[in-house]
């Protein structure tokens, strides 16, 4: 029934981008996202799109996978585009009855859409090229200075990775319970939304009970294998920055500088549709 949902969207390949340190990739994605908000004209977006395309090419993740990231935000994209297009006041470009499109509106609509797309594509490169487990590990290490302030970074990362590990298990469990309840005459398909939600209760209650039982079992198994929190723990794959990461960092800084300089109009490039 719901067995075949794929979670996480990691694309298995052994590219340079895949092999970069997850901490660097997280930092890089963050920097890229921040820099997008500095962009003030279409050429700036062009630079960002070019750089991103370069990264995608090197990562060998097929473009259609990246484009897939658009699907869930299609509605928001169309919505913001139309709102900006139709509601912003300014120089009228085109009018039909009560519908007016202004120059400013068109500009703003294109800008917002391009920015949203670049944001989503950029973030999806991170998730396509980094295993969920490496991501949580990376976050743990990036946030580890906070543990001195009493934030339990190791525990948070451990919870995230266990949650990822158990998603398929719980999906299987849900499937089993739904089938058991269907066999007893449960109906998940008819009725209005409220009714359907109510009909899910006989699935959710046993699912929660099972989840707690699994948690108890797992806690015991972890204890039996000498788990006692993050202190004194070593890792099979310790994270080490290499030359590759240094090179990537330089490229990131270059990218940030390019975007910044263009936003100030200091590059020998035209500013198109400056905002």
């Amino acid at each position: 029934m719901i067995r075949n949902i794929t979670l996480g969207q990691y694309y298995q390949y052994d590219s340079v981008i895949h092999r970069l340190d997850p901490r660097l990739k997280i930092f890089g994605t963050f920097l890229y996202l921040v820099m997008l908000f500095f962009v003030k004209d279409l050429v700036g977006y062009g630079i960002a799109a070019l750089c991103l395309s370069g990264v995608i090419l090197v990562s060998r993740v097929p473009f259609r996978f990246i484009l897939r990231g658009m699907r869930p935000i299609m509605f928001i994209l169309a919505f913001t585009f139309l709102l900006n297009l139709l509601l912003l006041p300014g120089t009228v470009l085109w009018q039909a009855g009560p519908v007016t499109v202004t120059h400013e509106g068109l500009k703003q609509a294109v800008f917002i859409t391009v920015r949203l797309l670049l944001l989503v594509f950029g973030a999806s490169v991170l998730t396509y090229t980094t295993k969920p487990m490496s991501l949580t590990d990376g976050f743990e290490r990036i946030l580890s200075p906070l543990s001195k302030l009493g934030v339990r970074t190791h525990e948070i990362a451990m919870m995230m990775s266990i949650a990822l590990r158990f998603i398929p298990t719980l999906v299987g469990e849900t499937d089993k319970i739904m089938k058991a309840q269907l066999a007893r005459g449960a109906d998940f398909e008819s009725g209005n939304l409220l009714r359907r939600a109510r009909n899910m209760i006989p699935v959710l209650v046993p699912l929660f009970v099972n989840a707690f039982r699994i948690a108890q079992d797992l806690a015991m198994a972890m204890e039996a294998r000498c788990y006692s929190g993050g202190r004194g723990r070593t890792r099979l794959h310790p994270m080490r920055y290499g030359m590759r990461d240094l090179a990537a960092l330089m490229m990131l800084i270059l990218f940030a500088v390019l975007i910044f300089v263009q936003s100030r109009g200091m590059l020998p490039l035209p500013m198109i549709w400056k905002i």
Partner: protein, 285 residues
């Protein structure tokens, strides 16, 4: 290797409400498991065998008496990690004891907790995965494996801690016959390496392979002896709420008809050999 000295475990049952009498899971139990031996702990549900297993790993502390693992008291907080490293444990449900989404990371979990150097972890993880026969699945997710393979990942995870003793807490109960025989094969190999094995099981066929069988009933030791001794006593197994292995049942039926089969005949193979050896006229070629 493991000593139980007058161990009692009492606990209040969950949801039992106020004034409910505590359940006695173990009642003044004493026994010794020698190093390098293979002991089967059997008994029906609620006989206290899982409680006994948890006591061996300091997952549960006895309310009376002491449990010593390699001379260390499980109630000594300082020794808990050493005890858990020495006496590894494999649980019943293969799904609920794997921590990581990648096989080799899961096997590394124990050594990582021990704080070993990454190179040493790598060595141990590879060795353990090879010993458990899952090396070629090391980069897969446990979700893609069968129950028997998952259980072998769990065993590899314990092996990577290089324990001296492994406790199997009904580790074959949820497996199909193929998975079960794979786990039993693992146990046989562990035994050859000199690892102490404690096997908690419902399956008498599995218990019959042990050096000794320890039968628990209502928290007390009902009997202890070699499989030949235990299965030779009529009604002992049924008193414990258990069932004789099929080979022993057939043997006993043949005995009732006058066949003089010795006590050491406990499994299908030795039974077949006995029949072939004693009634050659009925066995073709």
């Amino acid at each position: 290797m493991i000593d139980f000295n007058g161990v009692s475990c009492r606990y209040k049952r969950e949801y039992a409400g106020e004034g409910a009498l505590p359940v006695t899971a173990l009642d003044d139990v004493s026994f010794h498991i020698p190093r390098g031996s293979f002991i089967a702990l059997v008994g029906r549900n609620g006989s206290g065998k899982s409680t006994a297993a948890r006591c061996m790993n300091a997952l549960q502390l006895p309310s009376g008496g002491t449990v010593l693992v390699d001379g260390a008291d499980t109630s000594d907080d300082e020794m808990v990690l050493t005890i858990r490293q020495k006496a590894g444990m494999v649980f019943q449900n293969p799904d609920n004891q794997l921590v990581s989404s990648v096989v080799e990371d899961d096997v590394a979990f124990g050594p990582e907790n021990l704080g070993l150097h990454p190179d040493e972890i790598r060595k141990r993880v590879d060795r353990a995965m090879k010993a458990a026969g899952i090396y070629d699945r090391r980069l897969d997710s446990p979700d893609e494996l069968s129950g028997g393979q998952k259980q072998r990942v769990a065993i590899a995870g314990v092996l990577a801690m290089e324990p001296e003793c492994i406790i199997f807490d009904e580790a074959t109960a949820m497996l199909d016959p193929a998975g079960r025989s794979a786990v039993m094969e693992m146990i046989r190999r562990l035994r050859e390496r000199g690892t102490t094995v404690v096997l908690i099981t419902h399956f008498m066929e599995e218990a019959a392979e042990a050096d000794e069988i320890l039968i628990l009933k209502e928290g007390k030791i009902l009997s202890r002896g070699t499989p030949a001794e235990i299965f030779a006593v009529p009604d002992l197994i049924s008193e414990a709420g258990l069932d004789l292995p099929a080979a022993v049942k057939i043997r006993n039926l043949l005995r009732q008809r006058g066949a003089d089969i010795p006590d050491r005949v406990l499994d299908i193979k030795s039974l077949a050999e006995w029949i072939a050896g004693n009634c050659p006229e009925n066995v073709p070629g």
